[in-house]
């Protein structure tokens, strides 16, 4: 089309804004209806928190001076039978005593800021990332080998790979994780983490195999004929000519597969691996901030998957150099 009707765009953009606004208002009304009290301020501590170092009185005595010095305060304590006074520094906000107060030995005076600690959400996120990464890595290797077996001339290799792919694709991942953990894990004495990674790797491996097979078969026959006519062996042709070209073509579907893997990895929480999902569930039992936690967990998954998809998009662009 030669003419672009840009003037017809804005009513639809306006409608989009209206719909999004409506959805937000609906959500707000819905939470009002159930009388839910939002406590977003509780969320940050589950990412990271600062430890409190409790400061106690070294002996029984009297507070003779409290010197507030901005954020921190110096408390001077005079021992009861007499002797050298002691100075204790605490955070002003945590100060428990006033000037002239009597304290017993080991009584709490206040707290000092301790070191920063990683919260359970961050820990869970990290577990999710590395479990996905490791099972993705092994899944890629399994998929490559299975994909090559799938198109091999050897009937035994072909049969085995078809059987594996069909078994994995025909059963739910949740069931596979249970079988891997309770059956294979018990027989081989596998750690729950190993069982979880194994189940995930086998799961993506099967899908990756089909993606790689399709990628290899999409490379024109003339490519391998040209390579073979130059005297390259079948293996050399595969590694230098077919796979590099196939890899470029399968990058988008592979990216989709690995993004799914990150989301599917939430299922390993059923065998008590403390990933992001399991951390979320554990926090809820103590914080009661159910809505906030699930929204936060969802957002974290979204961040990880979008970063990965940007990364793979960038990789794709780099590979597109030769077109």
């Amino acid at each position: 089309m030669a003419l672009k009707h840009s003037s017809a765009q804005w009513p639809w953009q306006g409608l989009l804004v209206l719909i999004l606004l409506g959805l937000t208002i609906g959500l707000w009304i819905a939470t009002k209806r159930v009388n839910y009290e939002w406590r977003w301020e509780r969320i940050p501590q589950y990412f990271a928190y600062q430890e409190q170092d409790l400061q106690t009185a070294p002996f029984a005595g009297t507070v003779i001076k409290v010197n507030a010095n901005g954020d921190t305060s110096q408390v001077t304590l005079q021992p009861q039978p007499g002797g050298q006074p002691a100075v204790i520094t605490v955070e002003t906000a945590t100060l428990k005593v006033t000037d002239g107060a009597q304290v017993n030995a080991d009584e709490e005076i206040g707290a000092q800021r301790g070191s920063w600690q990683v919260g359970p959400l961050t820990q869970g996120l990290w577990v999710t990332i590395w479990i996905s990464f490791i099972s993705g890595f092994f899944g890629l290797i399994i998929g490559l080998i299975t994909g090559l077996c799938r198109i091999s001339k050897n009937p035994a290799l072909r049969g085995l790979s078809v059987l594996y792919i069909e078994l994995i694709r025909g059963t739910p991942l949740l069931v596979q994780i249970f079988i891997f953990y309770f059956f294979i894990g018990t027989v081989l004495h596998l750690d729950r983490i190993v069982a979880g990674i194994g189940a995930l790797a086998l799961f993506v491996g099967a899908y990756t195999a089909e993606i790689i097979r399709a990628g290899i078969q999409s490379i024109p026959k003339g490519q391998s004929e040209a390579a073979r006519s130059l005297g390259m062996s079948a293996a050399e042709t595969m590694t230098h000519i077919v796979l590099p070209q196939a890899f470029k073509r399968v990058l988008p579907p592979l990216a989709g597969q690995f993004i799914s893997l990150i989301k599917d990895s939430s299922l390993v929480s059923v065998i008590a691996i403390t990933d992001l999902t399991k951390s979320g569930r554990e926090i809820i039992t103590s914080s009661f901030a159910t809505f906030e936690i699930w929204f936060t967990v969802a957002l974290l998954y979204l961040v990880v998957t979008s970063v990965l998809s940007q990364l793979l998009f960038w990789l794709e662009r780099r590979f597109a150099r030769s077109d």
């Binding site: 490519q223 040209a226 073979r228 130059l230 005297g231 030769s322 077109d323």
Partner: protein, 244 residues
């Protein structure tokens, strides 16, 4: 250099049996240029592809430089190094630059050093007149340029024989000449060549012998002067009447 003995290739599929190459015997001497012509589907490509084992034949013998390519002890990859092939659709490696297209097999198959392979590649690219495109990707080149790179790629292996399967059929008319010129030069330098082509001018000028194929059989085998002026076979006469 090439000896073919009672070669038979049969395609079976969907209840049809095609005798693509049907009892062909011929030979090509060292430095000889043989042009193969014939109607579409007569088995020219299949015959050529049997010569370097790209097509597994059903019966007969192909002997390249004294080696039976279907022999049980023959390393087919070793034979193929000595037999260059140029395809109708070039089949350059699109993920490699022009230079890498020409150096890859030298490094992988001939195990040459990087500098040696590079120098050889540049010399050949200069020879086919395309050295200035060495660092381009094939998709940036015209058809004629791509085909010349493909010839350089095959020559980089120092083959004893070159096979050409309709090297100019996919080209725009104005590019046919540049590719034929390279082939003519090769012929003058004494390369042993088997060429499937529809370029009758090339056959007349360069070929030592013309083979006419129809339905998998070689019906006529004669020097071009003889073949183009007085073909014996009625089917060859009919074919020539159509194309000339």
């Amino acid at each position: 250099m090439i000896k073919v003995n009672k070669l038979i290739k049969i395609f079976e599929g969907r209840g049809q049996i095609v005798r693509a190459v049907d009892d062909v015997s011929t030979q090509v001497a060292k430095a000889e240029v043989v042009v193969i012509i014939g109607p579409s589907g007569s088995g020219k490509s299949t015959f050529l592809r049997c010569l370097n084992g790209l097509e597994e034949f059903d019966d007969g013998q192909v002997i390249i430089d004294g080696i039976d390519i279907a022999g049980s002890k023959t390393n087919l990859n070793a034979v193929r190094r000595e037999v260059g092939m140029v395809f109708q659709h070039f089949n350059l490696f699109p993920h490699k630059t022009v230079l890498e297209n020409v150096t890859l097999a030298q490094r992988v198959v001939r195990k040459r050093k990087a500098t040696e392979a590079h120098d050889k590649a540049m010399a050949l690219l200069t020879k086919v007149g395309i050295a200035e495109k060495a660092n381009e990707y094939p998709s940036r080149l015209s058809g004629g340029q791509q085909q010349r790179v493909a010839i350089a790629r095959a020559l980089a292996m120092d083959p004893k024989v070159m096979l050409f399967d309709e090297p100019t059929s996919a080209l725009d008319p104005e590019m046919v000449g540049e590719v034929l010129d390279v082939m003519k030069q090769l012929a003058r330098e004494g390369m042993t060549m088997a060429v499937v082509t529809h370029e009758m001018g090339f056959a007349r000028e360069v070929a030592h012998r013309v083979l006419f194929m129809d339905a998998g059989k070689v019906l006529e085998d004669a020097p071009p002067a003889e073949f183009f002026t007085a073909p014996k076979e009625p089917r060859a006469q009919a074919f020539l009447k159509q194309v000339l």
